[in-house]
Structures are given as structure tokens and as C-alpha cells.
Amino acid sequence: MRLCEFCEKINKKRNVLYEDKDIYAMLGSRPSTKGHIIVIPKEHYTIFEHVPDDIVAKTFLIANSFMKLVLKKLGATGVNLLVRNGIAAGQSVPHFAVHVIPRYKDDQFNLKWNFKHFTEDKMIKYQSAIKYYLIPKKNIEKVRDDREVKANYLYSQLQRSP
């Protein structure tokens, strides 16, 4: 079976910056800016949601220490941390990765976006969609007493589904 690009790099130990039993950090071979670092779990997880909590914690902790390091050692004036989770989000390798991208003055690199505007109704809808997805199912009975929730369209939809 053909390995994914990142698994292959872990095996070949190319451009390695840090390695332990769970995590591998390397320099990107096609960097966005000078010192672009990629931090990955050694285990092959395709998307963020598959990664266990302890590995998530460890990956980001190491990414965070690299953020400090690039500011100190490379003379970067800023740093971005980016996860691209899913093809729609720009993920190019099917292996969960955290990108640490050092930024320099006038680096011709742009991650800004244009603001979108949504009506109040829509914002309420988005809020409840996310909020009630985060509530564990066993607690949903408790939420039923909440007056705010009773009036909520989405919650009634949630109750309807098995």
C-alpha cells in the first residue's frame, strides 16, 4: 500500500526538527514563507475529529513552542498557526497537520478575508446549531426546561430526530 505523503516523510526523516513517540515536526519542503513548519501526529489521522484529545493537546503544545522559536530564531515579526481540516478547507495531504507559518514584513503573503454579513435571525440559527450540537445527548433533557430553548426552532427539530 502506498503511504501518504506525510507518513512517507516520517519514515524518511526528511527535514526533521522534532520527534518523539507521538509527534513529528518538520520543515515544509514547499514553504509558504521562510521557516514554514508542519507539526503532525505520527499516527495517520485523516481529519482533526479523528485525533484523540491527548494527541491534539500534544500537537498544539509543540506547535506553540515552535511559534515562540520562529519569533526568536528566525527574526519573524509575526506567526500564523493554521489547520486545514477537510478538502474544502484546503487540506492537500490526507494527514492531520498543524502549520506554523512565520511572517515577515512585506512578505507578500495574505491570509485575510472579507467580512460577510448575516441577518440577526441567521446568526441565531448558526449559534443554536453549534451550541446544541455541543451539548451531550444525556443533558438534553435538562435543556428542555430552558425557556430560551423551548422557543427555538432548531431545538424542536433536534427533539424530533431519534
Partner: protein
């Protein structure tokens, strides 16, 4: 999760002994024993900010109303009022940090584990096709707030956020090696 870091204790709810409370700041009424404040409901959490101007500390102290999607003792997650896409969430540590690298290790761990949950909720609740977890540290990286925060941006097929695909530049092995030597 075990939060052992002593520097974090000052911001645990109910602990008002913190030395960097500013009497003119948003925390004034918890500090001033001369005023009769019994009727004022104490916010459940006091953020420790140095200047009292930080809009996100005001949000944390419930002085500005926001659409929150998640809250616990250490962080709050809200909908961004200037969203890049529908359901754009900001995850904010309750203690005031200016940039992400300042954040205590235990909080960093906690924040990103919660980010994972929210990312899952965004994909499940809004039927998003993916998410970008994004932070900017420093003005040249595009940071505009004075409070460290993490963006969770829901992504949909064919939306207009192509920037996150990241441009790629060719670089020789020799150059890579020289950068690597600077870092280790």
C-alpha cells in the same frame, strides 16, 4: 484536566487577590469595598486585563452581550460579528493574553481540545465541508485584536476563502538545511 500553573490561580473565579486588578477597569466593583454593591450581580468570571480597554475582556466579564456557543471556567467561544463564513467561531481564553505563545501550557492544551469539539459541532451542526483553525500572532501576521484568540472558520465547497490553500514556493535543499540549522 489538571491546572497546576500558579500564575493561573489569580484568574480563577472567586479569587480577587490578583495584584494586577485595575480599579478603573471593568473589575472596579469587585475591588471597591466602600461601595454598596450588594445588588449588583457579580460576573461569574473576572478577566485580568492590564488596561481595561480590551473588548474581549469586556465580553468575558459579560459587559458586552455576544452570541456564545460554549463557555467553561477557562475559555469562552462566541460567534464572530465579522464572520468570514457562516458560523465563524472565536475561541477566547478568559485570562488576558496578548498573543498565543504567552498562554500557559495547560490552557493551550485545553483550548485546542475544545477547538476540536467545536470544529466537530460546526461540521455537524452547520453541515460544513471542513474547517480552518487559524490564529494570528503579531500585526504582520494579521492580528487585529489585543487579546489572543483562535478562529474556527467553517468551510464550504466553492466558498471564497481560497487564501487558506497556502501559496507554495520552491526552495532548494541547501536553503532548507540552513533554516533547519537556525531552528535546532
Amino acid at each position: 484536566m489538571n491546572f497546576k500553573d500558579s500564575s493561573f490561580k489569580s484568574s480563577i473565579p472567586g479569587n480577587t487577590n490578583s495584584s494586577n486588578h485595575n480599579t478603573n477597569s471593568s473589575n472596579a466593583y469587585t475591588n471597591n469595598p466602600n461601595q454598596n454593591n450588594h445588588n449588583i450581580q457579580k460576573p461569574h468570571y473576572n478577566s485580568t486585563t492590564n488596561d481595561g480597554d480590551c473588548i474581549f475582556c469586556k465580553i468575558i466579564n459579560h459587559q458586552i452581550s455576544v452570541r456564545s456557543v460554549f463557555e467553561d471556567d477557562y475559555i469562552i467561544a462566541i460567534l464572530d460579528i465579522n464572520p468570514a463564513n457562516k458560523g465563524h467561531v472565536l475561541v477566547i481564553p478568559k485570562k488576558h493574553y496578548t498573543v498565543i505563545p504567552q498562554i500557559d501550557n495547560d490552557i493551550v492544551k485545553h483550548i485546542f481540545v475544545v477547538c476540536k469539539k467545536i470544529s466537530k459541532a460546526v461540521i455537524g451542526g452547520l453541515k460544513a465541508d471542513g474547517t480552518n483553525i487559524y490564529t494570528a500572532c503579531g500585526g504582520s501576521a494579521g492580528q487585529t485584536s489585543q487579546h489572543a484568540l483562535i478562529h474556527i472558520i467553517p468551510r464550504f465547497k466553492d466558498d471564497d476563502l481560497g487564501n487558506f490553500s497556502l501559496k507554495q514556493t520552491e526552495i532548494s535543499d541547501k536553503e532548507l538545511e540552513s533554516v533547519r540549522e537556525m531552528l535546532i
